[in-house]
Amino acid sequence: MADIIVFILLVACGYFIGGHRERSHYRSIFARERATLELTLLSGKAIDPAWQIAQAALVTGVCVISVDYFKSVAAGLRNLIGGRVSAYESLIDRARREALLRMKAQAAALGGKVVVINVRLETSSISGMKADGRSGQVASVEVIAYGTALALA
């Protein structure tokens, strides 16, 4: 009985606190994306001949985000019937966008008008031991975003 109560408590914690954190993170992502619309990210490597390039530098952004308990339970249930695991979709989306925003912040620090070309995203997860020593997956997603920032004169 106690197990069930703890389980329900954990799921509720994940649902309410995790949900709140996700919403506030998304609000912050949207606000920063709007604020940095000027800074163009291109996944291609073509350089416009009209650009007067003053400086080229490697810029990177890193983000590791963990699931909440509700999401892992929801994903576990989803595993039984298959299909889209929307709980994890938003997780990966947040990690990617956060990493891109951090890369943008680094690029903006070069000053002036900046374009980032050949942007790449590398995604993986750190698998490992749980806190209590049992082997298991700390369900998290880590993203490295990187590209070449061109400071335009």
Binding site: G18, L58, E142
Partner: protein, 104 residues
């Protein structure tokens, strides 16, 4: 040392290729970080400790790659890529590689 993810360095001419250079770091998490990660698995959100760890690993891998390029007499590394892989439980590798070149 100029690093780019494209084939060349803008405005500069590549005069010599020195071949592939790379740097890697294998990182694992310590108990304190894992404990916090365990809690974060309940509440969700960013794992700041891991983000920091990944950042350090990236810096270290790039530094090793740059050192190797310097030893070859290069002044730029072009076509830089990052790659990650899981080596074993609790350890992950971050690998940075690129082509060392001399530009003028």
């Amino acid at each position: 040392m100029i690093l780019t993810t494209i084939e060349s360095v803008p405005n500069l001419r590549t005069v010599e290729h020195m071949g592939l250079v790379s740097g890697s770091t294998v990182r694992s998490k310590h108990v304190g970080r894992d404990l916090m990660a365990g809690l974060k698995n309940i509440f969700g959100g960013e794992l700041k400790g891991y983000t920091e760890l990944l950042n350090e690993a990236r810096e270290e891998a790039v530094a090793r790659m740059v050192k190797q390029a310097e030893a070859l007499g290069a002044n730029a590394v072009v076509n830089v890529r990052f790659s990650t892989s899981a080596v074993a439980a609790g350890a992950a590798e971050l690998y940075a590689y690129g082509t060392a070149v001399r530009v003028e």
